[in-house]
Symmetry: C2
Subunit: 338 residues, 2 copies
């Protein structure tokens, strides 16, 4: 059905049916002027992000279901990076008349999967028409005990810098998708070859938010001194902690968790794998710092956490290369208006 | 300066300086992955809205400062309509390269005025580039005692239906602006004549959220049984309460607060003033229902509140015309995808 046949209130009704509230804290969900949330004595944590067709995603290779999923994930990731647990989201979408109601439902199917997987309720938002293309704005709300919150300004000298999972995959996935798109435009009879790049593409199209790391640290009673998620690229996000905490750092090239795949495909694409791993955004891994005492407490292997360096008193941002040479780590992460 | 010279993080720094946190509940504002809010034992109320150039506003007659102001107001209005007090907002904007940094600062000047006027902190959001035009998404957060909250599903039979201020002005203001724009396109040497329409245009470009009504009712210890703000048009918004509360209503034409100006300009524009007043959106007046006992308590004149009818047991939506004839009140309010 055409979205214009269904109408705004018809669409909202359908969304409301699809997203019944499940959390105890969601007192009122979709359908009133505002949602009502009850957090008792905890701190409320709120984050909001916008995704715009042609800037943040390209629908020619981004399936709508994955887009719905990712729209939620990028916001939940911000809540996890405060060491908080997300519980509700509000989602605004604007679409032009080129979208069918089935396309919108597919998008919301992805939203639904993310909500179920991460146990959050969709409690509000706005549906609107647009002049062209699709725009998504998501706000995530979570809560946390006052003592557990992790900010980017809390890093201490000698803190061990840790990163979850591995880096560079999402960016290489994007490079592959863009290459196959441009090949397809040149020769529409060529089928895109994506099988060899599954792990890279999946990280780009369907990233995970690292709630498992939050739960893992909590099991060991470990609270990071600082934490951010890697959305702009690890060099840029490390710079955010460094600047906010007024510290320098030393990071070791050989300690960076970069998969064989990223190295191999970088060669294939004729790009520098180290630069891709350091500057590629949209990883949604957690980057955090632990006191040496806390670092000893955790089992790094079990949790897939890599120590990559430490924070220092001085303000130098240093990358120690494999050959022992020390370079200044400059960030070339994704910035808008650049 | 070009927004692309300033860069994303440069822009965020400027915004951060402009919006220091003032509320006790704003523990952490702009600059981390999420904002942190402390509401103690109150309920949290959250609402989010999106405004898109070419759909919700036309920059050829909408000054950016007013747009910044209105972007905040439309969301605060949603929080007030839950009988809650807003305390924080998050604002996402996406702009194309046609916008200078001065233009963006002008927009944020309007945001700042609204924040100061309504005593709310800007605590987060996202700044992004766009393919074309400007998109704004605002999320407002507030809090309220459990006993004071007003939902749209709480209306009771015989409740007196009340509306603050007057209706139809915002819509007529929009009609005037569109007429002057089309005259200007036809003949660019004509200066738009707007002096006679100041009250109408101001309501369209710089609406107020009715926190004064919330404070007024609170002074009289009166809690409405139901409340919404008039964003879609009074007939549509009345329909929302009616449907959610499973009640009908009787509304009296002669009781509707429609200014002489709206009647006069409707005639000039050859439109029906009653239809404009009933279906025109973006009024941001409050529409609420009071038990007859509570209604007796308040001084209607002092507060500029008009009783316009009452809710009924049956599901009939009735407009009683001036001549005593009864019509079904159908809503033709603004709906997207229609």
């Amino acid at each position: 059905m055409d979205i214009y046949q269904l109408g705004e209130f018809g669409l909202i009704d359908q969304i409301k049916k699809k997203f019944p509230c499940k959390k105890k804290s969601s007192l009122l969900g979709i359908g009133d002027d505002a949602a009502i949330i009850n957090f008792h004595n905890k701190l409320t944590v709120v984050s909001s992000d916008m995704l715009i067709e042609g800037i943040h995603f390209d629908l020619s290779y981004f399936p709508l279901k994955h887009l719905g999923y990712k729209s939620v994930i990028v916001n939940l990731s911000d809540i996890f990076s405060m060491n908080a647990i997300p519980s509700q989201i509000l989602l605004n979408i604007a679409v032009s008349s080129k979208f069918s109601s089935d396309a919108i439902y597919e998008f919301y199917d992805g939203v639904k999967i993310a909500c179920d997987e991460y146990n959050v309720d969709l409690v509000g938002g706005d549906t609107s028409s647009s002049v062209s293309g699709m725009t998504i704005s998501c706000t995530a709300i979570g809560s946390v005990d006052k003592k557990k919150i992790t900010r980017r300004d809390g890093a201490k000298p000698n803190d061990i810098i840790c990163v979850s999972g591995d880096i560079g995959r999402s960016y290489m996935g994007l490079m592959i998708l863009q290459r196959e798109k441009s090949n397809f435009i040149k020769n529409p009879e060529n089928q895109p070859e994506l099988d060899n790049y599954k792990n890279l593409i999946e990280k780009q199209l369907r990233p995970k938010a690292r709630n498992d790391i939050i739960e893992y640290l909590s099991r060991y009673n470990v609270i990071p001194n600082s934490m951010v998620d890697i959305s702009d690229g690890i060099s840029s996000d490390l710079g955010h902690i460094s600047q906010s905490s007024n510290l320098g750092f030393k990071v070791f090239e050989e300690k960076l968790p970069i998969s064989k795949e990223v190295r191999k495909i970088s060669e294939e694409l004729n790009t520098d794998y180290l630069s891709s791993a350091l500057n590629g955004g949209e990883e949604y891994e957690l980057l955090f710092s632990l006191s040496p005492e806390n670092f000893k407490k955790i089992d790094k292997k079990e949790s897939n956490i890599s120590p990559i360096g430490f924070f220092t008193h001085n303000n130098k941002k240093t990358l120690v290369c494999k050959d022992g040479r020390e370079d200044e780590l400059k960030s070339f992460g994704w910035k808008h208006f650049n």
